[in-house]
Symmetry: C2
Subunit: 145 residues, 2 copies
DNA sequence: CGATGTTACTATCATTTCGATAGGAAGTCA
DNA sequence: TGACTTCCTATCGAAATGATAGTAACATCG
């Protein structure tokens, strides 16, 4: 899709999709959030073609969600680590996962636990102002200008 | 990307991406959440090619996020309305929008207001169990089996 | 020293998908 | 009858994807 128009749009959702608007990018961010950093780790985890992985990693790096870091001079080796923007994307993924669990949760599933309590995480989106679940109260859109 | 493998995966995020893993689908869901229902409304709002729109609407319908509903017999006219699963996807979009606002928020932006209070919504993802913001506490992954 | 292994890619190329444009089907309205 | 509306489908060139093979720059083992 033509991302140029989208990024010009006033809509912050469209803006977000401009950087991370495809499944591979989101899965790379998921894996990066779980601690993967290296090309081959991503490739094996995702079963992605190396051509595509190269492109996605480059885009995510350009967009400022990943950072390329040299971890060995000889031989020259780089790894990809999340930036703050990249780490901040995790809630989107977690919520997407919650949706997937609810509506596509047949069979066995990976679960996400609170590392301290060991209890399963139950992600919900709320409005920090009212405390209400997103979707519980009607939303009004204010277009600029 | 090959969605077959993904949907077999244990990961609920991957499962979610199998149904709604591209930008157009998410934007259609965004527009549907804002009340759009008709083919031409989506087409004009998104500037999407009709071929693509047809396919995306069909997929979202098959996946159970939209429902095709006849609103006129003569002439035969259908509209697309959100199912419960489709409505439940809104939090993901809202959170993606919050990310976009934070990291791609230059210039004017559409804002989302609480329809009752008129105040701008500040979406956050929290764990309903601990109440902590997602990302604030470390997460552990439990793979099935 | 040579062979093999590791890591991070690039090159190639067939297949798939996208997207712009035109047009059709089934009506309504004047 | 002719314009107009709405919801698409057909066509086709352009772009993206993905499978496979290969390369660069080393390390390590025998």
């Amino acid at each position: 899709m033509n991302m140029k128009n989208l990024s010009d749009a006033f809509c912050p959702i469209a803006r977000g999709l401009t950087c991370v608007g495809d499944a591979w990018s989101m899965l790379i961010l998921r894996d990066a959030s779980l601690g993967l950093t290296r090309f081959d780790e991503f490739r094996k985890s995702l079963g992605i073609a190396p051509t595509i992985l190269t492109r996605r990693l480059a885009t995510l790096t350009e967009e400022g969600l990943l950072e390329k870091r040299r971890y060995s001079e000889r031989p020259p080796r780089d790894e990809y680590v999340l930036t703050t923007a990249g780490r901040d994307f995790l809630p989107v993924l977690v919520l997407l996962g919650a949706w997937g669990r609810k509506y596509r949760g047949e069979g066995r599933l990976t679960r996400y636990l609170d590392a301290e309590t060991g209890e399963e995480i139950e992600p919900v989106a709320v409005d920090a102002v009212t405390g209400a679940k997103i979707g519980a109260r009607p939303i009004r859109v204010a277009t600029p200008e």
